[in-house]
Every structure is written in C-alpha cells, then in structure tokens.
C-alpha cells in the first residue's frame, strides 16, 4: 500500500489532518482501529472552558493561558491557527450546522444538569444556550437510562446562566411501543420514523406549559438527524435541544459520519479495523508503518505520516505495569511524571501528574525522539497523543484536536510547496 500521506488515527485530529491533506491534493489514507474517539465525545467543539477559572471568551483567554502553559498543544498553531482551523471545521462539517464563536463560550447542560462551557455546538444543540430566567422543560424517555430528567432539571435549576437562574422542569415520556431497555442507537433509529415522532410530540406538547425550549436526550436520529430535529421543533412549537451524555454518543457519531464523507469527497481513503503496530525508519525519515488488517500485517509506505492515535483512552499512549510510559507505534519517548513520582493523586477529580502525559514535539508538530530532536522529518503528531493538555478538565479536547490536526496538515503542505519550489 502506498500513499502520499498516512494518517494514523480516525478521531477528530486524524480526520482533520486527513481531510485537509486530501483537500491540498495529496493521496491520503487514514487508518483507525475503530471509529476513533468520536462516539465517546459529546459532539460539541470545546476550546477552552476553565483555566481553571471559568472562561467567558476562549479567544481572549488564550494568550494568557499560553503564557501560563507554554507546553500546551495550543502553542503549535496559536490563536491564528485556532481561528483558521475552527472556521475550516465549520465549513467542513456544514451539514451539521455548527454554530458559535471563539469569542464567547456557550454554557450547555450536561445530563447531570451542570452547565459545561463549549465554543461551538451542532444545530441540534443550538437552543441549549439557555437564556437567563427562562423556563425550560427537560424531557426524558422512560427506559432510556442515560438521561434522568428529575436530577437533570433539579441541578440545572441551581445553575446560573448570566444573572438569573434557569427554571427547569422535568417531564418523563413513555416510549411509543415496547418498554424495557431503550439504548441510544435504538431510539435514534426509531425516531427517524415520523409516526414515532408524532406520538412522542403528542405526549409532550400538552406538558410544555410556557417553556421557552425543551431539552431531550441526544438521540434525535443519526442519518436523518436534521429532519428529526426540525420535525420535532415544528410539532412542539418551541426550540428543541439535545443534551449529550454517556457513550455511545449520537452527536459524536454524526460528526464522524460527516467527517468521513468529507474525507471521501476530498479523495481520501479511510481504512477502519486497522491498528498501527510499528514503523520502519530509513535515511529519509519514516519509510513505512505496519498496520494490522484482519490477521495480516501490512506495511504502508508514504511520504508523510501523521500520528493521531490519541491519549490513554484510545491506546495512543500506554502505561506498563512497571510504570513505564510508551508510545506503541514509533516507540517515541513519552513525557510524563518523573521516575519515582506518583502518577496519581488521592483526589479523583483533581489533576493527576499523569494527566498531561504525551509525546513532545517541535514547533512544526514533529514528535521528538530520544535525543530531543524530531524523530523524522516526515512524521507529525496531532491531537491527544501530544503532551501538555488536560482536555477534560480545561474543556479543550476538540480545540486541541482541530488545531493540531490542521497545523500538521498545513506543515506537510508547506514543506511540499518548499520542495516543489
């Protein structure tokens, strides 16, 4: 297998780099073990929410944040790169209607009823930017175990958005049809049936009272989500917003579907079910990467490689029983707690020394080898595999993936232009 560029990892960072490179005219292959991290993610674009103080404007906060966190992955693309990559993303994911701006965080409800800061949301969550003082209805579905409207509404009514408290009221709907377990995928598929929507809306509408908007579990369709959402809003007569929850996440999967299409449209290729397990280095840098395909191992040669395998949750960085940290594809040194330092603290929700672990990179995003110099001139890294960020605490996950994926692609396209010149 030969490509101009091989991207390892099919999450937000990998797909961003892959699409961008394909749009730049390269023959791109993206390989991924599964559907990346997207089914785990909320489908929002989190850029910077806490530093640890709440951030009203990611754009305004970024310079001071970078000064305080000089090793953060945001240093690679800077404020300009963030603006460009986010603008590019909104255009690329156009079918999902992402909205929002880097100058103002939106505070959107979690399934637990807190408000979480995020910069951009898909159209299905646009109405979640709750007006202060307004009444909202939280409509759960009996049998769906990942959104419990009573607790959500009770917590949400304690949260403050701006000056006045939100008034949230819980409603529990009976699912038309069978009772019992109603997993997210099943609900999403069934909601694409107009008759189900009619019956659900008929149940909900009389219970809306004077609510300004209604929040529902993020299960409003997959392939035809836009239609499901618009139809429910029409039937209920007020804005409807999805509240993302535990994996598997439909908003995340829709984004995955959307980016996969964008990659294909740009001429790129996506190979799922393939895990990168090793690499061969030559004089000119990385020659090839070994991937598994079914039970075979295949060497993929390419001019450029982008490592976007993610952090610990997706296996991009591994910790051995003896505490050694390892990057499994290229054997890159991993920056983490010092030898002998406890990797974890006592308080679960506090930051742990291991949280910022990852690989180091130069200003171009090229991973550093054991000697401190880039391992290879044609290898770049993007996303959560990079050291320095604490995405879940900062609420910066998608921002890091977008900017670094975009930055890696720009660096590769730039170096090709130099070669051509």
């Amino acid at each position: 297998m030969i490509a101009d560029a091989l991207v390892i990892g099919a999450g937000t960072a990998g797909l961003t780099a892959g699409i961008r490179l394909a749009q730049g005219g390269l023959r791109v292959t993206v390989v991924g073990t599964g559907e990346g991290c997207l089914p785990l993610a909320s489908g929002t674009v989190d850029v910077l929410g806490y530093t640890p103080d709440p951030v009203p404007s990611p754009l305004a906060a970024l310079p001071a944040f970078l000064a305080a966190n000089p090793d953060h992955p945001y240093r690679l693309a800077g404020t300009g790169g963030l603006e460009q990559s986010v603008a590019w993303f909104v255009k690329t994911a156009e079918p999902l209607g992402y909205r929002g701006e880097l100058a103002r965080n939106r505070w959107v409800p979690t399934v637990l009823g807190g408000l979480r800061p995020t910069a951009l949301v898909p159209a299905s969550m646009a109405a979640a930017d709750l007006p202060a003082g307004g009444e909202v209805v939280i409509a759960g579905i009996r049998g769906f175990r990942d959104l419990h409207p009573a607790l959500l509404a009770a917590n949400l009514s304690q949260a403050t958005s701006g000056a006045a408290a939100i008034q949230a009221r819980a409603v529990e709907l009976d699912w038309p049809g069978s009772a019992g377990d109603l997993p997210a995928f099943r609900l999403a598929r069934r909601l694409e049936d107009e008759e189900i929507r009619r019956r659900l809306a008929a149940q909900l509408r009389p219970r809306l009272g004077g609510a300004a908007a209604v929040g529902m579990p993020a299960v409003l369709g997959r392939e035809r989500a836009a239609e499901v959402h618009a139809d429910l809003e029409r039937r209920l007569g007020i804005p409807v917003f999805e509240i993302p929850g535990l994996p598997p996440s439909l908003p995340g999967l829709r984004l995955f579907d959307c980016l996969r299409r964008a990659l294909r449209a740009a001429g790129g290729r996506l190979v799922l079910g393939s895990t990168a397990v090793g690499a061969t280095l030559g004089k000119g840098g990385v020659d090839s990467v070994t991937i598994t395909q079914a039970s075979r191992r295949v060497d993929v040669r390419a001019g450029f490689f982008v490592l976007a395998t993610g952090g610990f949750p997706t296996g991009g960085v591994v910790r051995e029983p003896d505490g050694e940290l390892r990057e499994p594809v290229f054997g890159l040194p991993v920056r983490g707690p010092a030898a002998g330092e406890e990797p974890f603290g006592d308080e679960y929700l506090a930051e742990h020394p291991l949280d910022r672990a990852g690989i180091g990179s130069d200003a171009e995003g090229r991973p550093l080898g054991a000697g401190g110099a880039p391992l290879a001139s044609n290898l770049y890294a993007a996303g959560a595999v990079l050291a320095g960020g604490v995405p879940w605490r900062e609420k910066s996950g998608e921002g890091i993936c977008l900017t670094t994926g975009w930055h890696a692609a720009e660096a590769i396209l730039g170096s090709r232009r130099e070669d051509a010149a």
Partner: protein, 520 residues
C-alpha cells in the same frame, strides 16, 4: 437529642463475627442490638479473598485450626448455601515448592479431618487448563468461594427476624460503666445525626481488628494485632476452582474464583492501625508475580482493583491469656471475659479467628455470655439455615444471568458489567433507607466490574434521586463519594487496559458530566 434503647445483648461490630453473634444470640432468644460504625461487612469481612477454607491450608502447621475449618466448612455448606459457590479447590506443588511438603500435607489432612484426594497432573490440568503445566503433584479439597456480604446479611436478616435490631452507621463513642460493670454504650447515629444510648445486660465486643480500641473504652485490653492482607482482582475467572500453593506458608499463594473475577491473595504484614492499610505498588507486583506460579499469565490479565483487609490476629501469648480463663479454647480465636481478666463485668470480647470459623466463634462467644449472665441456652446455628439458604442451593454464577434474562425486557439494565437492573436497584434501596451507592455495590455488585462505575454510578445516583431516595444535593454527593471510593481501589493497578478504562471513566466524569462543577 439522645435516644435511649434497651436490650439484653449489645453487639459491637457488624462483620461476620458480630453478625454471627447477633444471629446466634437471637436464635437463643436474647434481645439483641448490633451496632457498626459503618455499613455491615465493610471492615475485614468485606475485604478478604472470599475463600471458604477446606482446612488444607492449616493441616500441617495448625491441625487444630484445620480441624475447625473442616468441620465449619461442612456446617456452612448446610446453613449458608446461598453465600457459597461450591468451586472445590486444588493444592498444587509448583516447581518452586518443596516436594517433601506434599507428603507431609497428604499425611496431615486426614488427622485434621480435612478431606483430600490426590489427583493426577493430567486430571488437575483437565479441571483447570490454565494451571501451571509444570506442577508436580495435585490434591483436590473441599475449598469453596464464599460471598461474605451475603453471609453477613443472611445473619443480620435472620437476627432481625428473631427480634434483633441492626444499627449500621452507629459508631460507639463510649462504653457506659457503672462501677466495675459495663452497662451499655453510647452510639452516634451518623445518618440521623443524634446520639443513642443503649443499655444492655452484656456488651459483646466483636469489633475484630478494632476490638482493642473498643476494649480500651472500658479500660480493658484485648491483645489483637492487626495484620494487613492484600488482594488483587483480575477480570476473568482464570480458574473455576480455588487454587492453592502446596507449601507451608507464603505471600500470594491462593487464587479464589469470586463471581466473575479471580482474586489473588494475600500478604500478612503487622500494622499499628487497622484503618491505615494502604496497598503499595510493590505488594501488587508481589501478588501478580506469585499468581503466575499457579496460573501462568495471571499477571498479564487485566487487574481491576486492589484492596486490603486487617486481620484480627491474636498472638499466641494473648490467646493463652484468654484461654486460661475461658471455656472456649481454640487455637485460632479466643473469647475474653473481662470480668475475670480485668475485673470488669458485663463485657465479653471475641478476638482472632477467620471467616470460615465465624459461626463457631459466635457459638463460643454466646456460650461465654450465657455463663456471664448465669443462664444456659443451647446454640442452634449449626442446624438452622440462614434466611435465603433454606433451599439448600449453592450460588452458581450462571444463575444470576438466567434470573436476569427472565426479568427482561421491562427491566432496564443499569450495570452491564455485573448485570444489575433498575428493579434490583430500587428493591435494594427500599430495603436500605439512606443507602450510599457503595452500600448498594456490596448488595448488588453495581460498579464492581471492569468499568468500576464509569457508566453505572451516574445512572444509580440519578435513578435513586428520581425515586425519592436522594435529595438533589445528596445524589450529587453520593456520586462524588462513590467515584472517590472506587478510585482508591483502582489507583495501584492503573496500567494497560485498565488504565485505558479508567481514563475513559475520567473522560465521562470530567468531560461529559463535568462532575467537578455540578452545584453541590
């Protein structure tokens, strides 16, 4: 405000010993109150490896203790069947072990009434294909796997059915003395936030590793020395039988199948404070390495969690001091009548022992109490099945799955790892008002599987809130407390796949739920 209660016997400690005493005494017609500082079976009892001893472990070095285990094993299989999985056990001589010990073992077992049968290596490997193929001898024994929580609840429920009152989350703040007599205890009701004064004809100190602390409240001594034992659970049943190293004694020489996991244990380190038993990475490494001698590859499987318990060890000198003035003489446990030891009447302590002999310990204790009170009432626990065990059916892992499947489809699943349904959750919560999620974990095993609560903890808190068990703030606090509690057991084994899982959980709790910023 102080509430006043009266009873004949106040039992302090809701582990297997205290619950066993309450059950035994209630069966004999005593009015009993049992108090524990936390939930039942949350001390040493809930923190052991889950082994029902055949006696084989002690046959060579302590034939008396082995005989007690062998006899109690037979009795418990009759009266506590619900809590027991009849796994059977093997003693195997690994290449690291002395072959000569196997002969001593085989000779010692019959003397100690331990039923043993030597089987061929091929037969041992047929029974347990993951066994070290280089073992040189193998012996089958009647070890079992026992769920100490079920056992304790069975005792507590049985005691309640016979009029006992069970007070969890009621730590003792003082023993009440009148002259040279203990006449009761002051308790603090942690959930009602009030004091309770209990007057009793006799107070039974069944606080295990904490019994020294209780005795000191009456100016008495109990010579218990807490001994830390470390356990590691991995996420598969790598063997369906209990597997023991056939050697005299050592660290990490028993692997017990427990529900859907395998547990390797244990160590024995003296500690000053039974509450200070943190597990070190070196101890985890030691356990995993030792397990490989029995089941090669054990250390490469996914370690789920780690815990440690504080054994209530009774040094020989203390045991002898107790035995001198006791009717109940045992090698492994001792009933101490403080009237005779310290001149303090109305207080009896039970020290030492092990879970397998808990019933005998209770019998000896209540016998001593009868003597203290000048009454004679025969023990009935050896013939009376615990509630839940009257059908005489052992617990079997697949039964739970079958029951669960029968309850569907109108019964949403809350914990996929351990197959816990919403109905199970609500039923358990109804039985235990003011329940914490960690209490439900012990009842239902919710949060015990590979994800360690990543998915089910949020659901549990929200469902209990939705059904009025929790106020809003209580639900948030319960969720926070549970994830913090689970974190303690995971920390020492976070590498490989389990770290990956733990990071996914962190993604859920921090990234998706933003638990940190939810209003309290």
């Amino acid at each position: 405000m102080t509430e006043a209660l009266e009873c004949q016997l106040l039992v302090i400690g809701g582990g297997s010993t205290g619950a066993g005493v309450a059950w035994d005494a209630a069966l004999r017609g005593f009015q009993v109150i049992l108090a524990d500082r936390g939930d039942l079976a949350t001390g040493t009892t809930g923190r052991f490896h889950g082994l029902l001893h055949s006696g084989g472990r002690y046959a060579v070095r302590d034939p008396g203790g082995a005989r007690e285990c062998a006899r109690e094993n037979v009795i418990l299989r009759r009266v506590a069947t619900e809590a027991i999985e009849d796994t059977g056990g093997l003693f195997v001589t690994t290449p690291l072990d002395d072959l000569e010990y196997a002969d001593r073992f085989l000779a010692a077992c019959p003397e100690a009434e331990v039923i043993v049968e030597e089987i061929s290596i091929a037969e041992a490997l047929r029974r347990e294909p993951r066994l070290n193929p280089r073992i040189r001898r193998a012996f089958a024994v009647a070890d079992g796997s026992i769920d100490s929580w079920k056992l304790v609840w069975g005792c507590a429920r049985g005691a309640e059915e016979h009029g006992a009152k069970i007070l969890p989350y009621h730590p003792v703040t003082a023993l009440v003395r009148e002259g040279d007599r203990v006449v009761g205890a002051r308790l603090h009701d942690l959930r009602g936030e009030r004091d309770v004064e209990v007057r009793a004809e006799c107070v039974i100190n069944a606080a295990g590793a904490w019994s020294g602390q209780i005795a000191r409240m009456a100016g008495c001594e109990v010579g218990v020395r807490p001994g830390k034992g470390v356990m590691v659970a991995v996420n598969h049943r790598l063997a369906d039988s209990v597997v023991n190293r056939c050697h005299l004694t050592g660290d990490g020489d028993i692997v017990v199948p427990s529900h859907s996991v395998s547990v390797i244990g244990t160590t024995d380190t003296p500690v000053e404070d039974p509450d200070d038993i943190e597990v070190t990475p070196a101890e985890v490494a030691l356990m995993l390495e030792a397990a490989d001698a029995l089941l090669p590859g054990f250390s490469r499987s996914r370690a789920l969690r780690v815990w440690s318990g504080a054994r209530p060890l009774l040094p020989k000198t203390a045991a002898a001091a107790g035995a001198a003035d006791d009717r109940a003489v045992s090698r492994s446990h001792s009933v101490l009548r403080h009237r005779e030891r310290d001149g303090v009447a109305g207080l009896v302590s039970i020290a030492g022992g092990k879970l397998t002999t808990f019933r005998l310990m209770a019998q000896d204790t209540v016998d001593a109490v009868c003597a203290e009170l000048g009454t004679e009432r025969p023990c009935r626990t050896a013939e009376t099945p615990l509630p839940g065990s009257t059908g005489a059916n052992y617990y079997r892992l697949p039964d739970h799955q079958r029951e669960f499947e029968q309850g569907r489809p109108d019964n949403p699943i809350i914990c996929e790892c351990e197959l816990v349904s919403e109905a199970d959750l609500l039923e358990a919560a109804e039985r235990n008002p003011q329940v914490q999620i960690d209490d439900l974990r012990r009842v239902l095993r919710v949060g015990m599987g590979p994800c360690q609560g990543g998915f089910c903890a949020f659901r549990t808190a929200a469902i209990l809130h939705g059904h009025g068990e929790y106020e809003r703030a209580e639900a948030n606090a319960a969720l926070r407390a549970f994830v913090q509690e689970r974190w303690k057991g995971q920390r020492p084994v976070l590498w490989g796949q389990q770290l990956r899982q733990a990071r996914l959980d962190a993604w859920i709790f921090q990234g998706v739920l933003d638990l940190e910023h939810v209003p309290s």
